[in-house]
Amino acid sequence: MKLGRFSAILDAYGAAPERWPAHEREAALELARSSLPAARALSEAHALDTTLLRMSVPDIESDPERFISLRSAIVSAAQPRIGNWFDRWLGVDLTPSQLWPSVAGLTVATLLGFAVGLGGLIQIDPDHDADDVAVLSSIDLPAASQ
């Protein structure tokens, strides 16, 4: 491994070898052992790591009261989902592969319903008189005729 790559690894991952890319770790360690500039770069990276780790973010578990309070707030905000069954009925929570049989079924049913309806509309009644329709229309819809 060249010193340039070693420095890039330190710049990216810091001084802890367990954080270095696994496939380069052994070569990097070997360079750190055999090269003075590499050892110096490792020492500098270690100093930066130590400084960064001084940034303290207290673990919330070290404050049990706060932990319990926050957990309770989160859990109590999770109300039973009334829309859950409705979503499932609509297929909102389904993947496309799960959804397509429902979509296909709905399409077939719609087309069938449309065909039946259309067939009823164009059915011809041989006893039907066109004059009856005209008379009925004028009686039933006076507003429209004025």
Partner: protein
């Protein structure tokens, strides 16, 4: 009895009508998520308990404030509850572990909030007091912590997120790449820029620490 363990009754010696309790492994995140998708609040409580601490830690580092971090964590878990049915485990049509999905939500929420004009300062990041330290040491530790936190907050947001995930949360670059939807090479590049910037900003601080 452990609330997180699935317990089943098995007959050890059927002839003698004796029974024993077998405690199986704690439920996996995937298992809990499947239950949450059906509206199981107990499973949700278990999942929250398991991941709350790390979620708050990550959110706090990204937001620079404990209060904001807790708010982001709360909102992230609310989204987990609401969208549980949409999450698919690896092998079930999905391509990410639960934690990857959760941290992606946290990162996105944190970035959204940081882009809003008003945000809290670093002042409310409390540091636990070490009883072994004297007053001067405590003040010095607090000053170093504040200096690092302030330098972190001055980083561009993607550099800050990459550093928080890989350095502070000790995630692999592969996992961080999945969370940030970037390539591993891009993550490495962000980390290099972030650490170089911090090294420049904090030179005085860490030289002082090295000498100390």
């Amino acid at each position: 009895m452990q609330p997180n363990a699935a317990i089943k009754k098995t007959e050890a010696c059927p002839g003698r009508k004796l029974s024993r309790l077998t405690v199986t492994e704690p439920r996996s995140d995937e298992n809990l998520m499947a239950a949450i998708a059906t509206g199981d609040q107990f499973a949700f409580a278990r999942l929250v308990e398991r991941h709350l601490s790390r979620t708050v830690g990550l959110a706090t580092r990204l937001m620079g404030s404990r209060a904001d971090g807790e708010e982001v964590a709360q909102e992230a878990f609310a989204r987990v509850w609401t969208h549980a049915a949409r999450w698919r485990p690896i092998g079930g049509g999905g391509n990410a572990r639960f934690t990857t999905w959760l941290y992606r939500i946290v990162v996105n929420l944190a970035i959204d909030r940081k882009r809003r004009p008003v945000h809290a300062a670093m002042d409310d990041v409390d540091e636990p007091m070490d009883e072994a330290d004297d007053g001067f040491a405590q003040i010095h530790r607090r000053q170093v912590s504040d200096a690092v936190a302030a330098a972190m907050m001055r980083l561009p947001e993607r550099q800050r997120v990459a550093l928080a995930l890989c350095f502070f949360e000790e995630m692999s670059n592969i996992e961080a790449a999945k969370i940030m939807a970037l390539s591993v090479g891009a993550i490495e590049s962000l980390l290099v820029r972030a650490r170089r910037a911090l090294r420049q900003e904090l030179t005085g601080v860490y030289e002082e620490l090295s000498e100390g």
